[in-house]
């Protein structure tokens, strides 16, 4: 606990830049009546400070904050850990598309580190899927194929992955930030005492230390943080859908498939899987759509979604919604885009009557082209859109529909 951070009273001019930049609200500005020019003084609350260094960056001009971070050495011999792994999540026997995206980025990391890229496939009757993973860039696939893994449960999955990690010692493990990935990756990381960074949006390598530079949004996407796991191995990270592009298919690519025997008697599952009930409305998977037409509070009533759906259908896209529209019961939750809904990154995102609360923006701001339709030209969505259309959406959307139909007919 030898981390120290101090404000140098003689250098602090009381400008408050550090307090404004502190993501943790740990700095307050206090009066200094005894100061000749009545400057305020920055005071750091040791209970809130995480030594992130944002204040030091903010105080570049005055250099009034000093930080000393203790270098902690751990017992883990990092040189024993080599190789990049992707957890090949499957559900009902189908590999999740996020796996192909992770294999793409995983191969970049593996090349940089000059190590093989491996995939771990756990399930029942899934050995034949291993070649798909090799076609997408895996050099090696570890397979656990047994009826005990037919449905996802945290106990057996975390048990088998943990034992494979302990045996093979990879340096990096990437997993999808899905309900399955987030749930059991946490258990695995807790068990082997290593770092797990959620929802990374960029992954790089620091070649000197072989550390994985994990960048993720913090505080609802207002701030980005680059996170390291400097002393523990493996370095574990989860990544959402659509953050990376899918790896290209190279049919018949050569790779090694290692089918591990499963001693089912050693796989304990305290929970019992009883059944799966498919949600019909979940067939609208907005995470996978190339075009999304979204409606918000500005629609004024649930009928508005008929117009939204008409435009979406015409463009071959999906229907999205803001939280305001979902909370008003105009449309089911499965359509919700944003922090508490789905993260999407389509080619085109059309925001109709959505003002652009930050919680919505973090769920869609990486879309290629954003079109906003709104009466209020000052709202955040209109300010950041690639194309912003000022006016009544009930007048503009029908015109857009008419125009697209007209143009298509004339071709």
């Amino acid at each position: 606990m030898a981390n120290k951070i101090n404000v140098l009273a003689d250098k602090c001019v009381g400008c408050g830049l550090c307090a404004n930049n502190c993501p943790f609200g740990a700095i307050s500005m206090q009066e200094r009546p005894d100061h000749p020019r009545k400057f305020k003084l920055a005071v750091i609350d040791a209970n809130k400070c995480t030594f992130c260094g944002a204040c030091i960056e903010a105080c570049k001009t005055f250099k009034a904050i000093e930080m000393h971070k203790e270098e902690v050495t751990s017992g883990v011999d990092k040189s024993l850990y080599r190789g990049v792994w992707v957890y090949a999540e499957q559900r009902h026997g189908e590999i999740s598309s996020v796996v192909y995206e992770l294999l793409n980025q995983g191969s970049v990391l593996a090349k940089a580190l000059q190590v093989p890229l491996s995939a771990v496939l756990i399930g029942s009757n899934i050995t034949d899927k291993a070649q798909d993973l090799i076609d997408r860039g895996a050099d090696k696939v570890y397979v656990y194929d047994d009826p005990v893994f037919i449905e996802f449960q945290d106990d057996p999955y975390s048990c088998i992955l943990t034992s494979l990690i302990e045996k093979e010692k990879p340096e990096i493990i990437l997993m999808g930030a899905t309900n399955i990935g987030r749930s059991f990756a946490s258990r695995v990381a807790a068990k082997i005492y290593t770092g797990l960074t959620a929802d990374c949006t960029a992954l790089d390598i620091d070649l000197e230390t072989r550390n994985l530079l994990q960048t993720r949004p913090a505080f609802g996407g207002n701030i980005m943080a680059t996170i390291l796991t400097p002393r523990h191995r493996p370095q574990m990270a989860t990544v959402r859908h659509k953050v990376f592009k899918e790896a290209k298919v190279e049919k018949g690519r050569k790779g090694e498939v290692i089918v591990n025997k499963v001693d089912a008697s050693k796989i304990i599952s305290r929970t019992k899987f009883l059944g799966f009930i498919k949600d019909a409305s979940a067939s609208v998977n907005i995470s996978d759509a190339d075009i999304i037409v979204s409606g918000g509070r500005g629609l004024g009533n649930p009928e508005g979604f008929k117009l939204i759906a008409e435009l979406a259908e015409l463009l071959g896209g999906a229907v999205g919604a803001s939280r305001a529209a979902v909370d008003s019961n105009w449309i089911p939750y499965s359509h919700q885009v944003g922090q508490t809904g789905r993260t999407v990154a389509p080619k085109v995102y059309i925001a109709c009557g959505i003002s652009g609360q930050i919680q919505h923006m973090v769920g869609m701001s990486s879309s290629d082209t954003i079109i906003a339709i709104n009466k209020d030209k000052e709202c955040p969505m209109m300010q950041m859109a690639t194309y912003s259309m000022e006016g009544d959406l009930y007048e503009i959307i029908p015109e857009i529909i008419k125009e697209i139909k007209k143009t298509r007919c004339s071709i």
């Binding site: 606990m1 404004n20 993501p23 609200g25 809130k48 995480t50 030594f51 992130c52 260094g53 203790e70 559900r91 106990d155 975390s158 309900n179 987030r182 059991f184 990756a185 946490s186 258990r187 990381a189 807790a190 005492y193 770092g195 797990l196 959620a198 913090a218 505080f219 609802g220 701030i223 943080a225 390291l228 796991t229 400097p230 305290r270 929970t271 019992k272 009883l274 059944g275 799966f276 009930i277 498919k278 998977n285 939750y333 922090q339 508490t340 080619k347 930050i358 082209t369 030209k377 209109m382 950041m384 859109a385 194309y387 912003s388 259309m389 000022e390 015109e399 857009i400 125009e403 697209i404």
Partner: protein
């Protein structure tokens, strides 16, 4: 049953605004609230108590200010509150937070179901719940949207997945993380508010929970923040104003012309 709820105090995100010039968070006037997902966890715990009897204890790791979140939980129907606070816990990542929470829970012993919100709105990791379960060596089920059956020794729950839901049975003790579909939290009652005011908060620290301080706080955290930066702001593009018919035609021409749609 002794029911536990792990909660976290977070900045009230509905108020979070960005300073347009500096691109940083505006902190002034942002009040600290109970993590919105934890409100569903508290409500479900209280409903469980009303159904099968028992007591509800809320627990949080945080600075002394987090006491207000605990008192609010009592106003919403919890019976007891525990604040796990120590300078040695400062700067904890999800692993070190889970370690401190699970160490504290080990001193409580006779618990049944532990409830958590599916994630906190400031960190958004969804990692602490499952990690606490692992460290306590009990099963967990994440993203629970309904408790179908419950007894002193087992429960049957619906786990929300991307394509529907799974029905899972788990023995008790266990930990579940809940999604907002599970219930509609009640507003604090007058009686609850009175109880919250009078409640004595149990204070635990690193020593009283027998924590190994090499595993707590920043020093015990496997992950470290290397740097924090403001993402480049997306620049606004072309603005269309005028007659709907005219601007719609202009937009469609642009989109088709550049191949954005076809």
């Amino acid at each position: 049953m002794h029911i536990l709820v792990c909660i976290k105090q977070v900045p009230g995100t509905t108020n979070v605004q960005i300073d347009p010039e500096k691109g940083t968070l505006k902190r002034e006037g942002v009040e600290a609230v109970i993590n919105p997902f934890d409100e569903y966890a508290i409500e479900e715990a209280v409903r469980l108590k009303e159904r099968i009897g028992g007591t509800v204890t809320v627990i949080t790791m945080g600075p002394p200010q987090a006491e207000s979140a605990l008192r609010e939980a009592i106003s919403r129907g919890a019976d007891n509150a525990v604040l796990v606070g120590d300078r040695a816990f400062a700067g904890a990542d999800t692993w070190a937070t889970s370690y401190a929470l699970s160490s504290a829970i080990k001193t409580i012993k006779d618990f049944g179901v532990i409830f958590c919100g599916k994630q906190a709105t400031d960190g958004d990791t969804a990692q602490v719940g499952p990690s606490v379960a692992e460290m306590l060596d009990i099963p967990h089920i994440a993203y629970v949207k309904k408790i179908e059956e419950i007894s002193e020794t087992s429960m049957k729950v619906e786990r929300m997945m991307e394509d529907g839901y799974d029905l899972i049975e788990t023995p008790v003790p266990c930990l579940i993380t809940v999604v907002k579909e599970i219930n509609t939290p009640r507003v604090p009652s007058l009686r609850g508010k009175m109880a919250a005011k009078k409640a004595v908060i149990t204070q635990l620290n690193a020593q009283t929970i027998n924590a190994d301080t090499t595993k707590t706080g920043l020093a015990g955290s496997p992950t470290q923040v290397k740097k924090i930066f403001t993402p480049p702001q997306r620049q606004g593009g072309e603005k269309f104003t005028g007659e709907p018919q005219v601007i719609a035609a202009e937009l469609v021409k642009k989109l088709l012309g550049s191949g954005i749609i076809n």
